[in-house]
Symmetry: D2
Subunit: 137 residues, 4 copies
């Protein structure tokens, strides 16, 4: 089952042609990434500042299928496709009223903030992510 | 020859782990896209408001190779890989002191702001883009 | 009674010293302004695109009392201090766990998007704003 | 003599009514603040990370006189009005083609990033700021 969250397209997220400004989508994606971790009790704040683990995104493959416009509510559905030793593969589908607006495949790698090397997922994070695991066919 | 532009990583572009916040990169990319058009005398403002042509990005394939940090100057090199009837394929390499930081392959499609359908490149835009054309091997 | 809304300080709202980046506060303020109008049934989208009325802010007087940090939830309390012919005076107090973080006095002027002149508040907007009216002592 | 810098109003700085989105102005102001320090050889990066001094803004008093629109070049003129023990009072006038667009009076307080108390200006910063000192009449 995917992790889901809905976010309105805000006034400041739109460009002057009246549609979403694509950089704003990536700020929303970060928020949704963070909310997924919070859903299983792991705050990014604790992960970064207490456990000293950062979560850089290393790849993003995005398709913008149709524009969204001011006033739309974007429904994010995050599918966890794979959890590696230190990596996380996500596929997120963003839709409005059931129609796909944009999709993104994303790889995140857990990284030590001390030595900037990849860092194995802590057990509680791995367990939390596994709740949403839906391998691609 | 690529279109090039350098942009500093600003205070507000960094996250609290001290590295670039990836959504900020996409705002920079939009600026660089716009500057490339201006380099051959076509402002986005005139294109959008006089000729009623928008330039939505339809795909982005991004690799973040290494982080950039506050104070870095990002050198953007935009390679025009193909100019179709209404499409534009770009490959942009972003580096700091000669080291690649991130890369992105991007497709833009010229679109009528009246009917939201794809719109052939005007001749002056096609000629301008062709200056930078370097087909991939 | 003030209009109230709570918003988390997001990862992307913080600067690299770990506290809120002040420009991010103003994006939140716009969101809260918009939500107050929506609370009495007037969407900015309809106001701008159907009735052709814009809502530019003309003054902002801000005091940043203490910093907020990543993970804080900001409680916005918007006090309507005056509703003029076309103007709106707001005083917003933003607090975290009961402590004031920043405050702002703001004047908005309803403006015709056709001729860029001030435009009297429509009756439904005036009635909605009046619900929150609390003149300063 | 004021410190001056010009910045274009970028595509992403505009809202969907076609004028500047006011939160974007504050990101520009931060950039201009930073550039003024750099003009006398003090980078914020060194100030924050080597000397552990932050530069929070504590008050902003802003008037938006007329809107700017996409394609405008904003000319920032920063007048240093007072340099106290740890405080800095700035008055910035932002104009387009000689017409004032917005103005802001701003107080910044040098603050230790170790104990979050105010911190006297280092001598080199004080000397640099004094170059631009123009007390109000």
């Amino acid at each position: 089952m995917p992790f889901t969250q809905s976010k309105p397209l805000r006034f400041g997220d739109c460009d002057l042609t009246g549609i979403a400004y694509h950089p704003a989508y990536f700020g929303m994606l970060v928020d949704v990434n963070e909310a997924m971790f919070a859903s299983f009790g792991v705050t990014w704040k604790a992960l970064m500042f207490e456990r000293r683990i950062g979560l850089p995104t290393v790849t993003l493959n995005v398709e913008f299928v149709r524009p969204s416009t001011y006033g739309d509510v974007l429904d994010f559905a995050v599918h966890v496709r794979a959890v590696g030793r230190a990596s996380l593969d996500l596929q997120t589908v963003v839709s409005v009223r059931g129609e796909t607006i944009w999709t993104v495949r994303q790889r995140i790698v857990a990284t030590s903030l001390e030595n900037h090397k990849s860092h194995p997922w802590p057990d509680d994070v791995r367990a939390g992510l596994s709740r949403y695991l839906e391998p691609s066919e």
